[in-house]
Symmetry: C3
Subunit: 368 residues, 3 copies
């Protein structure tokens, strides 16, 4: 690639302080080579390194999306929008850490549907008295989330504790079937929102006016290169996570649910919050709920199906009942607060407080 074509990338890095953290990426690999036993250090370094990589990844995805037209672009955003979360989960999947994978999935749903949404309402509401947004998007995404929550709830409710051996087979076959159902529903939702009923959903274009446009080749190269880097850093992150949590005295549930989710969503969080402050709440709601439903209906089922190929044993869709309760409550909350299409600061307080109830519970939870 010619030197000239990289200029927009370097410009972006210079102008965006979040991307200065990219300096930590090589540090992670150097530290791991020299101090493979320093789990807490490696954990903290990898957390700091993933944040700017995730930001670059979503910037590159959006650029490719913007350059390939509305429908294909929407599709790309819908499949690669949570690539960071997918890569972290794949790293955990490969080594059979299913508790972490499920914690990360549930945590990402909860963090996007509650924290990102609530913080957008709160910050937007502190600046603007009352804000309005397109509630069709919110309704569609809340409906999808509701569907995914049911798919996760039913195996837990129906598969009782009796006859564990039979039940394990049942849960596994059911999980595979439900995963296929969810992916099909997700695919149809894209047909609906990108093709047949496109006019109902405001085109939430992420690339803002005034931003430097990247050439397509640069965007594709960045996408490829950064994907590899995120995958490598995620490996370090997953390896060091458990022992670091013990050393720092944080419960593993808190790490999976809260820290992994916030790290993976940091880049989108910045976009959603700054959109809310600029009174573009449509965009904030669409990023927050769109991400949550994408993880629930696309990333999670893909991981279940992948586990047959790359995991030591198949992974199920059955979650710990606390996680199921939190996903259900998040879905209900998002659905209730978005059904008017209006918001004020206190709506944000309500939603963020629900998130804080979860975070506090997980933080205090004794290790099982």
């Amino acid at each position: 690639m010619a030197r000239g074509s990289v200029t927009p990338l370097l410009k972006e890095i210079r102008s965006n302080p979040l991307l200065w953290l990219l300096a930590f990426v090589p540090v992670v690999f150097i530290a791991r080579a020299f101090k493979p036993e320093a789990h807490t250090l490696l954990f903290l370094l990898s957390v700091v390194a993933i944040v700017p990589l995730a930001a670059l990844l979503s910037r590159a995805t959006e650029t490719v999306a913007a350059r390939t037209g509305d429908t294909i672009g929407g599709l790309l955003n819908a499949t690669l929008g949570n690539l960071t979360e997918l890569l972290i989960a794949l790293a955990a999947l490969r080594v059979g850490q299913y508790v972490l994978v499920k914690g990360a999935i549930a945590g990402a749903i909860v963090t996007n549907a509650l924290f990102m949404l609530g913080a957008s309402f709160l910050l937007g509401g502190l600046k603007h008295h009352v804000q309005e947004y397109n509630r069709n998007t919110a309704r569609l995404q809340a409906g999808l989330l509701f569907l995914a929550t049911i798919a996760v709830l039913i195996p837990s409710v129906v598969g009782g504790a009796d006859a564990p051996a039979t039940t394990a087979v049942f849960i596994q076959r059911l999980s595979a079937g439900l995963s296929v159902l969810l992916i099909v529903a997700y695919g149809l939702s894209l047909v609906f929102s990108l093709i047949t009923h496109r006019e109902l959903f405001a085109a939430a274009d992420h690339v803002e006016a005034g931003e430097v446009q990247w050439p397509l080749r640069l965007a594709l190269a960045t996408l490829a290169g950064v994907t590899v880097l995120v995958a490598l850093v995620s490996e370090v992150f997953v390896e060091s996570m458990q022992q670091a949590a013990t050393a720092l005295g944080i419960s593993p549930a808190f790490v999976g649910f809260i820290i992994v989710a916030l790290v993976g969503a940091a880049a989108e969080m910045v976009t959603a919050l700054s959109a809310a402050v600029r009174d573009r709440l449509d965009l904030s709601v669409s990023i927050a709920l769109g991400s949550a439903s994408q993880i629930a209906l696309f990333v999670a089922p893909i991981l279940v199906l992948f586990s047959y190929v790359i995991g030591p044993t198949p992974m199920s869709l059955q979650f710990w009942r606390g996680a199921v309760a939190m996903m259900l409550i998040s879905t209900l909350t998002a659905s209730l607060v978005t059904n008017t299409g209006r918001s004020a600061w206190f709506v944000g307080v309500l939603v963020v407080t629900v998130y804080m109830i979860f975070a506090m519970t997980l933080y205090l939870l004794p290790p099982q």
Copy 2:
């Protein structure tokens, strides 16, 4: 009865292919007389025979209703609209098959509130871009369903597993009390929708223009005759069901929940779906949710009260927790998707997918 007055009935049978299945009704009784041990055959024959009988039954009920004025007609539809389901359940009740009775009740609620509603939205939406309907009806029926779900949920939640003997007495007395409450609430809902606030609810007249009008005497005679036939075929159905399910390798939960419910609702299903295609979604929603709430607030409590008279022991309103969860989710889903009064094809996909999650779970569920 004079030969001439039967003409509309024969005409109806000639013009409606579904009714040609009436030929299977005598076959059922012949097969049972000669091959009483052929459970699988008897099961399949009785399934096929109930479908056209149910269609005739609802046609006759509607005709009588149409001839007796809005209020009495509405009352008739509201009490006899699910006569098939009631007759099947009574056959099972008499022989003490309470698991089947409860499965059929829960299944009928879920099938009507999810499958019939969702398939109407889907088929209607494939033909029409966006459809609108009177949401007052949907709100009332969803409210009634919600009430019934709570009545079913509370005994399960409150009546713990401790002190089983005391609990059994408590559950039984509570079930009788709750049944009376539900029937009273159902009665008051009829006063509300047929008398005091009639103008809020579009008169969903089932008899379409262009249909041949039956004389009242023919309709009454058909009602009486077909009721007896359905009762007799239901007996064969209930007798053969369990062993047929084992032979066919289907879980009994699936038979009760899905097959019995689809067989009982087949006739209404045809009406609801064809109304949706003709952009008369008001009628589809009113049939789907009206049937579900009628089963929940009228058929189920009546069966509990009847069990004191005709059952070997009293039957309770306490359901298996998987059934309670499915009823609760169906109610919430119906309530959430109908509260705008607008629909497009993807709403149908969402609702049908929830139903498929349930069907898949029950299909895979190992026999307990």
Copy 3:
């Protein structure tokens, strides 16, 4: 205080038959002095004595509120509006009767959110065909209730039955943390509804035209004096309650949930119902849901925090799962029925029937 300034109080007592029951207040203390063992008598006498005291208390609070301007007055109503419930609960807290305290809290939430709301809709609807009200108030209060329900639900769901010792410490720390969160959220809701977005919420002024205005000093003196009396009578009530329930053959759950709640809310009930009949449904909804959310987000957390100081051991926010289910259902019901801002008599029937399902269940529940 001069004789003249007491005149409005005496006038009020003469004109309001409910206040004639004040005659029972001295009777309670006389009976307790002479017949300390007559638990059933003391229980009944204290019930009858609390009702008029509660009425006086809310009258005095409202007068002080009306005299101190909208914001401070709103704040006073919001903190002292459920003083009776708080005083009864404090009496039970001091002697470590946490089951009664929690029953009273859950019962007060359910009674206000269902019975008071439903009876207002029903009575109002019997007189007026369709009634409209400001749904912003209902939405805010339902949102707060939802938040409190989640705070109560999460410890019960997450804190499993395993490792009871660790769990007890976890539940206790979590309860303290959640209590602080709820009080902060409640405080912010007051900032929202009384200061920043005041215009969205109709000023629900309780003091009606035509009522005699009390001087501020009289109101303050009444507030202080009656608070002491309620506290003293509550002590008799709590002491005698348990043995009276046994003697009367009523389950303790029923007493805590239904009787304590109805006694504590009697005065507000009268105001809410008479407002509904006069087609001032705004006021009814605001009293019913406002009381419920105040108990959930202010009284209950205050009691948890107070228990560290005045209780024998700290009290948790963890409720019996039947109570959690009832609070959750009450919140959902209130939220679903109020989201249109319109009402007719059958909406009242629905809501009251949910309450009757609960009351019947608790009445029949065998003592554990």
